[in-house]
């Protein structure tokens, strides 16, 4: 058996395939379609201090080889999550990562403190794509200084492994990457969705009620690979790569670019159970190539730097 495991901030993941926030519910919804314990980990939807109902519909739409969403972080709120959703994950043999957001750094910290008190929570992923209400609603993640503040605030509240999830909608991803690491993030995950929009020419209304939204799916994979490659070369913490993954080959591609692990998002909707099939594909890949450690691939893209 080849070794598919990897370590992030001291935490061992048995394999690099994690399901992405907002695409795997609270962790058990896909149980009828796959053995969740096959996965390296799962990330919950973004959890906020108070429950949120989210944005008006339509809040999903299809685009060429991708989709747009503007769910608006609909979730049950941290208390309800910890009371009613987290217990269902007790017996799963997989890492549980709770994704959090807030409108202020203090809100992030408060959610992290609550979630961090639970043993079943293995790590916290900080979604910095949330609007920073104190600074006029621009996302925290588009400003390295705000990113630093948020990560720092969370770091002060919890000893859990911290992953900061970066937005691709910036001029230079390495600035946010460095800020997150300096503030104490144990790892980075990228990319969150790409800003996008579509318009129905018959009704003249936007495809999403809110106008713009987040693009995901195969269409964004080249963007994600580029950002992972850039981030991996500028920080020393592990990178979790995501954006458009749908098959084991994509995972290998992200690993070559510098990712230690990956997340599968939109593809869960297309192929429920697809994430487990990707794990099987990686096992076969390692076996057929007699690759002892999958992690040896990380960052080994062969680029002529001239």
């Amino acid at each position: 058996m080849s070794d598919l495991s990897l370590t992030i901030g001291g935490l061992v993941f048995k394999n690099p395939v994690i399901t992405a926030s907002g695409t795997f519910g609270y962790g058990t919804e896909y149980a009828p379609y796959l053995d969740v314990s096959r996965l390296g980990g799962i990330v919950t939807k973004t959890i906020t201090l108070l429950p949120r109902e989210g944005n008006p519909v339509p809040r999903v739409a299809e685009t060429p080889a991708g989709m747009l969403n503007s769910i608006g972080l609909a979730n049950v709120g941290v208390d309800e999550f910890l009371k009613r959703k987290l217990p269902a994950l007790a017996d799963l043999d997989t890492r549980v990562i709770v994704n959090i957001a807030g409108n202020t750094a203090e809100e992030y910290a408060a959610v992290a403190a609550k979630a961090g008190a639970f043993g079943r929570v293995d790590a916290i992923e900080i979604n910095v794509s949330c609007p920073n209400v104190k600074q006029g609603g621009l996302a925290f993640g588009t400003d390295p200084e705000a990113t630093y503040q948020v990560v720092r605030a969370v770091r002060n509240e919890t000893g859990k492994v911290l992953i900061t999830k970066l937005t691709p909608n910036v001029t230079d991803i390495t600035e946010a990457a460095r800020a997150a690491v300096e503030a104490g993030s144990d790892a980075l995950s990228l990319i969150n969705t790409v800003l996008g929009m579509g318009i129905d020419i018959t009704t003249r209304k936007p495809l999403l009620a809110r106008g713009t939204g987040g693009l995901s799916g195969p269409a964004v994979k080249p963007i994600a690979i580029a950002k992972v490659y850039q981030a991996a070369r500028c920080v020393d913490v592990p990178i979790i790569g995501l954006g458009g993954i749908r098959q084991w080959e994509d995972v290998v591609e992200f690993m070559l670019a510098g990712a230690s692990a990956v997340q599968v998002g939109t593809w869960n909707f297309v192929e429920p159970g697809g994430a487990a099939r990707i794990v099987a594909g990686l096992e076969q890949y390692c076996a057929s190539r007699s690759l002892a450690r999958l992690a040896d691939l990380v960052g080994t893209v062969d680029i002529d730097e001239t």
Partner: protein, 262 residues
């Protein structure tokens, strides 16, 4: 509830742009309830990417086949229209909750507009099987779309009223124009249930006409979907109890509790 590669048995136009596809899917047929839907991948491709939600139109449990009735409106349904017998079809379902068929009532009023007819054949089959008196109010754009008659259902149970926008069959106009007078005729309104599916303006009209009558009205709703199983939170709908998800809390919901904005 599962995801399986089924086999297309037949796939033919029944009116312009309107197709009926039969799919061999014994697993789905054995548990499906009227009003539930399936989430179909239209090809083994990444564009179009998402599955398409379609109601279960009818079930032949003996043969383990289910019918899908769909209108070609875009790329996904166009791809479906291109499927041939023996082609594989990736079907997720049955999903969501169904109509209430059991219960202590005698009269069933079914109000369908346009593609809203899609879930109703399965429902009517079940209503007749459980010995209800069914009145179907069916509105369509053209007479050709009224491709099924009461003779296509088990005998005895179905009274059919039709309306067409082109006026070539039945009442000329909307099916909701017929609703009020049908309600008057209803012998025993206290023991009636209503079922409806159709475009939002129609549902709003039905909601208005039915309000205050004490007849339970179940509507099969539509919303844009990604996952189809309650994960993505894409398909939300406003109800008097707050936002719910059409795919998981529906598609069948109490019409009187739906909150439509102005």
């Amino acid at each position: 509830m599962g995801c399986s590669i089924c086999t297309v048995i037949s796939n033919k136009p029944v009116a312009e742009g309107l197709y009926l596809m039969s799919v061999e899917a014994p697993g789905i047929c054995s548990t499906a309830l009227p009003g539930q839907f399936v989430h179909v991948r239209t090809g083994d491709v990444i564009d179009p990417l998402l599955r398409r939600p379609l109601c279960i139109n009818r079930i032949d449990s003996g043969n383990g086949t289910l019918d899908l009735l769909y209108r070609v409106v875009g790329r996904g349904t166009a791809a479906l229209a291109g499927k041939k017998p023996r082609d594989p079809l990736d079907v997720l379902g049955p999903l969501g909750n169904g109509f209430t068929v059991r219960g202590n009532f005698r009269n069933a009023l079914v109000i369908a507009g346009g593609m809203g007819i899609a879930p109703m054949f399965f429902l009517i089959d079940e209503l007749i099987r459980t010995e209800k008196y069914v009145t179907l109010l069916w509105g369509a754009r053209t007479a050709a779309e009224l491709f099924v008659s009461s003779a296509d259902f088990a005998p005895g149970g179905l009274t059919l009223h039709t309306a067409t926008e082109d006026g070539k069959a039945g009442h000329a106009g909307y099916v909701t124009d017929l609703l009020a007078s049908i309600l008057e005729q209803l012998s025993d309104a206290g023991s009636a249930r209503a079922y409806t599916c159709g475009p939002v303006p129609m549902l709003k009209t039905v909601q208005k006409i039915m309000s205050g009558r004490g007849i339970p009205v179940e509507a099969s709703l539509e919303e844009r979907m990604a996952c189809g199983i309650g994960v993505c939170a894409g398909c939300s709908v406003n109800t008097v109890q707050g936002k719910k998800l059409v795919c998981k809390d529906g598609p069948v919901m109490n019409l009187m509790e739906i909150v439509y904005d102005e």
